[in-house]
Subunit: 144 residues, 2 copies
Amino acid sequence: MFSKACEYGIKACIFIAINSYEGKRVSPKEIAEEINSPHAFTAKILQALVRQRVIDSVKGAYGGFEVSKNEIQHIKLAQIVKAIDGDRIYNGCGLGLEKCDEKHPCPVHDKFKGVRDELKQMLENTSLEELALNIKSGSAFLKL
Amino acid sequence: MFSKACEYGIKACIFIAINSYEGKRVSPKEIAEEINSPHAFTAKILQALVRQRVIDSVKGAYGGFEVSKNEIQHIKLAQIVKAIDGDRIYNGCGLGLEKCDEKHPCPVHDKFKGVRDELKQMLENTSLEELALNIKSGSAFLKL
DNA sequence: TATAAATAGGATAAGTTTATCCGAATTAAA
DNA sequence: TTTAATTCGGATAAACTTATCCTATTTATA
Ligand code: FES
Ligand code: FES
């Protein structure tokens, strides 16, 4: 469904959000430990998320990754997924035709569209805030 | 969503079904031309589908790939996808945890499960027959 | 200003998926 | 029984994703 990079990216954002609530910045190494991912690869993904302005980074001593507290509720899963995996998952044809086109549909178009749109809705309606709360409350987990 | 191999596999099955209705066997080359795929790679995928008993093959002169007419309505998309991509898409965790477990859910579990189950339903309820009819009637396309 | 702690980014390696090629095995028909 | 058409399967290559390593750059603090 999502690439490994995207899975790591989502989990990383959640962990960053939790820490940002407490005013703490986190390093790729801390993040990687918490989400059980290779730290150097995770660092690359974080760089991409910064370039796409999903999260913020502060360089130098006492730096790290963070996200502004006020933004946490407004950042949606859809933004993270789009920043890393692009928007093929939202717009692409399920059978890989050049583009998904009502006028020239593939055989599964009608049925696939429903599922794809539900996925899109889900990603657009889910905020980093609620995901972070699931972790804080202990009702969900980032690894194992 | 699906691998390239799976996309080719689904399209190939549809084309095979259409021809089997007319008692014709088809070769990887014909299939590849019709679905716009690399023919040698397509042949490998067809071999896998034969091993998994989704379709049949007849070796030697006048051989080719086919599917028994009576089966076409009973073959579901889900079988094809499972034969090629496995069942991670049906059972796997959206964030890549070792397994999707209600007792140890990832942060997106509740929301992801809904989408994943809808996808599963769609694939289990869609038969090769209806997809083939979409092509025959000219209301859907296998390439471009 | 020097130092240490951090992100940024390039180069490279490892692993997986996608793709190609070729010869072996099979089979219908001449 | 020979031939030609065809699937099967192994070996290999190309492309992409995932992962590692090292150096440069930035920046707060001593
Ligand atoms: S054309 Fe294939 S999903 Fe729309
Ligand atoms: S645990 Fe992640 S989807 Fe169920």
